[in-house]
């Protein structure tokens, strides 16, 4: 299956603005992040605390909804999903 990843601010600098990623069926958010971290230097440190928890400064939306309400790192992905990753908002 393919999912679309859009990234902003420091995450855009690491990942690019928009990338398409091919994943095996049944993949979860954690799998996607691990796959991306392999090919994008610095991503792991921007996403994870040393404990393995998601950093407060890594905000992830799955289909425009925060992943906290969708199982967090265990959220199941499906074909065509849009994942957005960015730091806390700093507009205005």
């Amino acid at each position: 299956m393919k999912v679309n990843v859009v990234a902003f601010a420091n995450f855009r600098e690491i990942l690019g603005k928009e990338i398409e990623v091919a994943l095996p069926a049944g993949a979860r958010l954690r799998d996607l992040l691990d796959l991306l971290a392999k090919s994008h230097l610095g991503l792991h440190e921007e996403v994870y605390e040393p404990t393995g928890a998601l950093k407060d400064t890594a905000m992830i939306m799955l289909n425009r909804v925060n992943i906290d309400s969708q199982g967090g790192l265990d959220a199941a992905l499906k074909e065509g999903d849009e994942l957005a990753i960015f730091p806390p908002f700093a507009g205005g």
Partner: protein, 145 residues
């Protein structure tokens, strides 16, 4: 009413002129500009679809909460110089208190809820501004008013 995110100059005078209607007695404008905190300028980016949808919700909430007649919100993106316009909010109401309250509400909610990010550019190194997302911060910690 205008909600816009883009690199263009903000047509502030035109927005204010358009906000004047017969039942309006007060127009309060907030203009955020790039402050010189020892930086050379700022780079601003937005998750445009998400930010526009949220700004629209913020405007609707402001119109529900306060006795105001219009809210305009324009946020610039791209490379901005010191003194450059960053964001403008124009709130028109019959009476001044609602215009002040509405304008203040919109900028606070915009900072907290809109998918926009700023990077301070400096010879000493660029720096993404810490945002107001999951970790609310008291006061201003950035160069954007």
């Amino acid at each position: 009413m205008m909600i816009h995110i883009g690199p263009e100059d903000i047509p502030l005078e035109e927005i204010i002129r358009t906000a004047k209607r017969p039942e309006v007695g007060a127009v309060v404008t907030f203009l955020g500009i790039v402050r010189d905190d020892g930086i050379d300028g700022m780079e601003v980016e937005a998750y445009e679809e998400m930010a526009l949808a949220e700004l629209d919700r913020i405007r609707e909430e402001a119109m529900d909460r306060f006795d105001i007649r219009s809210v305009d919100i324009v946020h610039r993106v791209g490379r901005l110089s010191i003194g450059g316009d960053l964001v403008a909010i124009v709130c028109a109401a019959p009476h001044r208190q609602a215009a002040f309250d509405g304008c203040s509400f919109v900028i606070e909610e915009l900072k907290r809820r809109s998918a926009i990010w700023k990077k301070e550019l400096s010879a000493k190194g660029d720096r993404w501004v810490s945002g107001l997302g999951r970790r609310p911060i008291d006061g201003d910690q950035d160069s954007g008013g």
